[in-house]
């Protein structure tokens, strides 16, 4: 019997050290070895707990909500897109608490062209991407988790009755990598 596999996910188990900065370089090319075109695409690196709930999401996106209470419609759309993609709750992002000075983003939301710590958490180069999480944000206790790396694009609002936007979805999503994510005890 013929079999067709459209799952291109590479299984890679990652280990790192608790409390240290995390840095991972991943080469990305097309099948023929040519540079992959990241134009208009978003890379998402998510770490999940045992219940498969994301506890950390990193991205090369410029639209992740910032920590300085400034939200705009684009970043709200981005947050809604993540909620749909990861099938999780808006509470995890807290992105609606714009006027609450005590708000935090439990899931980090790492931005952005130099605006947060001067770091982009995922940097894209021609044939590679770098995932860089400074230790001050990498506050995951030691233990075994899981992770995946997704490539998404074409984020669109979903209109519900009365043209109210209640969710946003990525039209395209591909999982590139996944596996165990082990945080060694410091």
């Amino acid at each position: 019997m013929a079999k067709i596999n459209v799952d291109i996910t590479t299984k890679v188990d990652i280990s790192c050290r608790e409390g240290d900065s995390f840095e991972l370089n991943i080469d990305v090319t097309n099948v023929g070895g040519s540079a992959f075109d990241f134009t208009d695409k978003t890379v998402l690196f998510a770490i999940y707990d045992a219940r498969k709930q994301p506890i950390k999401i990193c991205s090369n996106s410029e639209y992740i909500p910032k920590f300085d209470n400034t939200l705009n419609t684009v970043s709200e759309q981005f947050a809604r897109g993540l909620i749909s993609l990861y099938n999780t709750s808006s509470d995890l992002f807290n992105y609606k608490n714009e006027n609450n000075l005590d708000f935090i983003y439990p899931i980090i939301a790492i931005n952005l062209a130099g605006d947060f710590f001067g770091y982009k958490t995922i940097k894209i180069n021609n044939n590679s991407m770098q995932i860089i999480i400074p230790s001050i944000l990498f506050n995951i206790p030691f233990g075994v988790y899981s992770y995946d790396v997704k490539l998404v694009s074409d984020l669109e609002d979903v209109l519900h009755p009365f043209n109210a936007v209640s969710e946003s979805n990525y039209k395209n999503s591909t999982t590139w990598m996944e596996g165990k994510f082990t945080v060694n005890k410091n």
């Binding site: 990652i14 050290r17 240290d20 991972l24 910032k66 300085d68 001067g118 230790s135």
Partner: protein
């Protein structure tokens, strides 16, 4: 079968030492290619009795890689530490200098080993004076290192964490040198800067907690003169957990003098880390955020000073023989 990769750079090296002997360990850190890792260090010679040498710039905030060697008990309580940065000793940099003269500080003037002008830190009376003279950079740096230590301590309760500087401590307003909290103390026509900690018990407690590993010292300090006598003259030596020092720049030499290497014989753990890219957050008198060194921690509350990056290079067991 999944491919396995690790970003954990730490090598495991177990150390055995003898109690109350000089503890001297040389460590060299190489990358995957076998080349020495480069660190940004501030040239610094530790303050020693009779041999005084230190750079003009007391605290190289921001770009300096702080090397931290921490000994912990089996349950991850830090009990002894060595640091490459001039933590407590840095406190003396303002000694005898007016606020606006910090930048022109003459390193030879007050570190010449002469008891009479405060140049000898080993002299208890001078320690008393030095310890009153924190400025904002001392506090920022010490708190940043304390915060880094607290995150690695695996302590969960507020009480446990309080020793390492993260319990209800908002220092931000204290960093403003022109703050009305700065008090003027006239001595030989010199205005002293920023004895905030000396004046405010919460901050004072915090600072002494992070450097104190004996309750006896702390309690005697608190119960004797501090609360009532602004010219407290208590003996302040031998109270810090930062008894040791890290010298050199890859290779590094970790040193504890024999009289400071006084932990009970037994089994401990240690880590050797670099702390990089200190973030500073301060607010001006209108609560506007001001920054230094291009690094700012932007989460809204609580404000915090810490190092953005940390790498553990070496860790292992430390067995101390009787």
């Amino acid at each position: 079968m999944a491919i396995k990769i690790t970003t954990d750079k730490s090598k495991k090296v177990d150390i055995t030492a003898k109690r109350l002997d000089d503890f001297i360990v040389n460590l060299e850190i190489k990358n995957e290619s076998g080349n020495l890792v480069e660190f940004t260090r501030d040239a610094y010679t530790y303050l020693n009795k009779g041999t005084i040498s230190r750079p003009n710039k007391k605290n190289s905030l921001g770009n300096e890689d702080v090397m931290l060697f921490t000994i912990t008990t089996e349950d991850d309580t830090p009990v002894l530490a060595a640091c490459s940065s001039d933590l407590d000793l840095a406190m003396c940099v303002n000694y005898g200098e007016p606020i606006d003269a910090v930048e022109s500080f003459d390193p030879t003037k007050h570190f010449d080993g002469n008891d009479s002008n405060g140049g000898n830190y080993d002299y208890p009376t001078n320690q008393r004076d030095f310890d009153k003279l924190y400025d904002e950079f001392h506090v920022i740096k010490i708190k940043a290192i304390a915060n880094s230590m607290s995150k690695a301590s695996h302590k969960n309760t507020a009480e446990e964490q309080s020793n390492y500087g993260i319990k209800n401590l908002i220092f931000t307003k204290l960093y403003i040198s022109s703050s009305p909290e700065a008090i003027a103390q006239t001595q030989a026509t010199t205005t002293y800067n920023s004895p905030f900690i000396y004046k405010h018990s919460d901050y004072r407690d915090w600072l002494y907690n992070i450097f104190t590993n004996t309750d006896v010292v702390k309690n005697s300090f608190m119960n004797s003169e501090l609360s009532s006598n602004p010219n407290f003259t208590g003996y302040t030596g031998n109270r810090y957990i930062f008894f040791g020092r890290v010298e050199g720049n890859n290779s590094f030499q970790i040193k504890f003098d024999h009289d400071k290497f006084n932990l009970p014989a037994g089994n401990y753990k240690y880590t050797f880390k670099s702390l990089s890219n200190m973030a500073i957050l301060a607010v001006d008198t209108n609560n506007n955020v001001i920054t230094a060194n291009n690094y700012t921690i932007k989460h809204t509350k609580p404000y915090e000073e810490s190092y953005i990056d940390q790498t553990t290079w070496i860790h292992g067991k430390l067995k101390i023989n009787e």
